[in-house]
Amino acid sequence: MGKIEWAMWANEQALASGLILLTGGIVGVAGQFAGWQFAAYGVAAGVFVCLLEYPRGRRAKGTSVERTGQYCLTVCVKAFGPITRNYYVRAFLHAALCVPGGFMLATVLGCVCLGIASLIYLLAAIRGEQWLPILPKTETREKPRESIKEPPQNPPPRPPADLRRKRLEDVEGAAYVNPIPVTGSED
């Protein structure tokens, strides 16, 4: 199983909470319930949380799967740097955002769910996790390796030409050892 990355679950929970808060808010506003201002807040907070939580973070270990079309939001969220990277900030942010939802029935479920997400983010932060964006890897092209099929650029090492000239008067002395061993082709 390995190390559990709580932030992954916190992210799912927070996204769900955002949607629930948003739905509750829409119901409260559409039905003109008493305290509908809290519902309106729920809509705004819900949308904000959804946008913040939609881009999934990169897993510390293993392959990360990104959500459909999350690239734009990833870039936006990444732009805020340490504010969005740090999970303590997210934990306290969600805790603060969820409080006004508790004042109206339609948004109370969203409030509790967001509170739970905040707690899981706190756990993730305590364990030192942080949000890293999933960005497409820039392919670094490997330099094409030298192919052995290329014809040699230099002639094989040979002693200088005058030494190689056939010296019929001194056949023994003219013999030299090849610096690189050569094997004959056996056909």
Partner: protein
């Protein structure tokens, strides 16, 4: 082909039937609402709540039905029992039982959707109840809501205080409180069941999913407060159509005595008690199986990080192509991992080949290697076995000529099948009609499958000894070859056995040319019935299905290819 169509048709029929029953329940409840609105039933409520009542009651009915269904697909031992006992029914019907997890998820989505509708409807209901209680609604609603304030009156509106909020009411009634708790449990269960959490952090999913205990407990008590009130017949009866225009006269004229109300009897428990008991039995069975002794017969460490475990368990009976769940308490108490069995039913043990791909398998391998190092004959660590599960593929024995195609990891069940066929052939088992097998093994590389090559070697040798060398024809296709492979083959071209597998049959490179293969089989067996079995990707299944259709001959004396895709 026909079987495939039948299988798909069954699945869709099953799903459509389920969806139909959902709609019927909703329609029933909705029309019951309409009918009862014109009868005495819950007209009082419908006046106050308008359509919110039906919008809450209809999903509640659907929820009753679905909460009954959701526990059943995860009772894998029960499903195995049904599958085993219903051998008389068609195989395609039994195959539906293999899609149990898909069905569980489908039902879960429906529960989530219905919960959402039910909750939203109740948000409106609570608001309307509160408004009626505070006199903000029409006169009739206010009058109805005031019933119960005086002695000898029963109430209709569950909100008795005139200065409260819906939130307070919800959290102080049984129905409201249980509703919030179980919805919360449901949300937590769903967020932790997302694919990424399930695949990567299984423990989070498994622990959180046990919130279903809270879910069902809350669900059973959700109606205990009897908060939904319906009219009781009084003597003399309250004439609704006459009295609804003059609420001020109620109790003052003989046609309009004060109407009396009573809460409805909670019904959800009747729907869910059966499956809850069945699931409890299922967990007990799993625990009993876990406690049963499993002894090691042999463990072999194979190349490419594959571990073979040969195990013996009293009373264990398997069929070809089935799988078991293994658990090792020394590694993790919770994790049960499925492995296809690679031994034949004829053997007195069962074996699994475990490839190291993750944490659990890696720990298992390191524990096995530690045992091997200290030269202990058999491991000391306990192992629990649950199973066997899965559709048995007995059909392979029915065909005169069998064409078996295994891709990559899909080759594993064929180990079991090939061994079983060979045992049956040796013993001249009458249930075996197979006289010739063509086995195609497709893989990108033989890495991690050397054990299968060993198996083929053993079979090859035994067949040669008995002079039955022509019983099995196998072809290995390496689809992931490259220059170094090719160079290696070129150098060792003249060797008798294949360089990659060590088998007599040479390895082919690239994908098989199915037209050629089918033509060859057709030429060799012009009058036979050929069964084609595939364990591999969907794309290949489509290709083979087409080829089977293409090469089958209409003439009843001619060759016929039947395609079977097995989900092992």
């Amino acid at each position: 082909m026909a079987q495939q169509v039948a299988l798909e048709r069954h699945r869709h029929v099953f799903q459509v039937n389920w969806l139909d029953s959902e709609w019927i329940r909703r329609d029933d409840e909705g029309s019951a609402m309409c009918m009862s609105m014109s009868k005495q039933g819950v007209q009082g409520l419908s006046v106050t709540l308008q359509s919110g009542l039906s919008w809450a009651r209809a999903p509640a009915a659907v929820l009753n039905f679905n909460c009954m269904l959701i526990l059943l697909p995860v009772c894998r031992n029960l499903l195995s029992l049904i599958r085993g006992n219903f051998t008389c029914c068609g195989r395609s019907l039994r195959k539906q039982l293999d899609k149990n997890l898909t069905f569980h998820k489908l039902v879960a989505y429906m529960i989530a959707l219905m919960t959402a509708v039910h909750t939203i409807a109740h948000l409106f209901n609570m608001e309307r109840f509160n408004n009626s209680r505070q006199g903000k609604g029409d006169e009739l609603s206010t009058e109805l809501s005031e019933l119960g304030d005086e002695a000898n009156q029963t109430f209709l509106n569950p909100i008795r205080s005139t200065s409260t909020t819906p939130t307070y009411v919800v959290f102080t009634t049984i129905a409201g409180l249980t509703g919030v708790i179980i919805t919360l449990a449901l949300i937590l269960m769903i967020t932790s069941s997302m694919e990424i959490i399930r695949r990567c952090y299984f423990e989070v999913f498994w622990y959180t999913h046990h919130l279903f205990i809270i879910f069902f407990a809350g669900l059973v008590f959700h109606g205990a407060g009897r908060i939904v009130r319906s009219v009781k017949t009084t003597d003399p009866p309250h004439n609704i159509s006459f009295c609804e225009d003059q609420p001020a006269n109620w109790g003052l004229i003989p046609q309009c005595p004060i109407p009396q109300f009573a809460g409805g009897f909670p019904q959800t428990w009747m729907w869910v008690i059966g499956p809850m008991v069945l699931y409890l039995c299922e967990r007990i069975v799993r625990f009993v199986r876990y406690m049963q002794t499993v002894t090691y017969r042999k463990i072999v460490i194979r190349p490419s990080k594959v571990l073979e475990l040969q195990l013996v368990k009293a009373g264990f009976k398997m069929e070809v192509g089935q799988y078991v769940f293994l658990n090792c308490p020394d590694i993790s108490q919770l994790e049960w991992h499925p492995f296809t069995m690679t031994s034949a039913p004829e053997e007195d043990f069962f074996s699994v080949h475990i490839r190291v791909v993750g944490d659990w398998t890696e720990k298992l391998m390191s524990m096995a290697m530690a045992c091997a190092k200290i030269e202990v004959p058999l491991p000391h660590f306990r192992i629990g076995v649950d199973g066997p599960f899965g559709t048995a593929s007995e059909d392979v024995f029915d065909y005169e000529v069998s064409m078996l195609v295994g891709c990559g990891i899909g080759v594993t069940p064929f180990a079991s099948i090939l061994k079983s066929i060979w045992y049956k052939f040796k013993e001249s088992n009458p249930t075996l009609r197979t006289r010739k097998i063509y086995f195609y093994w497709l893989c990108r590389e033989t890495h991690a499958f050397e054990w299968f090559a060993d198996l083929l070697q053993v079979l090859e040798r035994e067949m040669e000894e008995r002079g039955m060398g022509s019983f099995l024809t196998y072809k290995l296709f390496l689809t992931g070859w490259d220059q170094s492979h090719a160079a290696h083959v070129k150098v060792h071209f003249d060797k008798d056995t294949d360089v990659v597998t060590g088998l007599k049959q040479k390895t082919y490179y690239g994908r098989p040319h199915w037209d050629n293969e089918f033509t060859e089989i057709r030429n060799n067996h012009p009058t036979s019935v050929v069964g084609t079995f595939l364990c591999g990707p969907e794309a290949l299944a489509k290709t083979l299905e087409k080829k089977c259709a293409k090469f089958s001959v209409v003439d009843p004396r001619g060759i016929k290819f039947y395609f079977n895709k097995e989900n092992f």
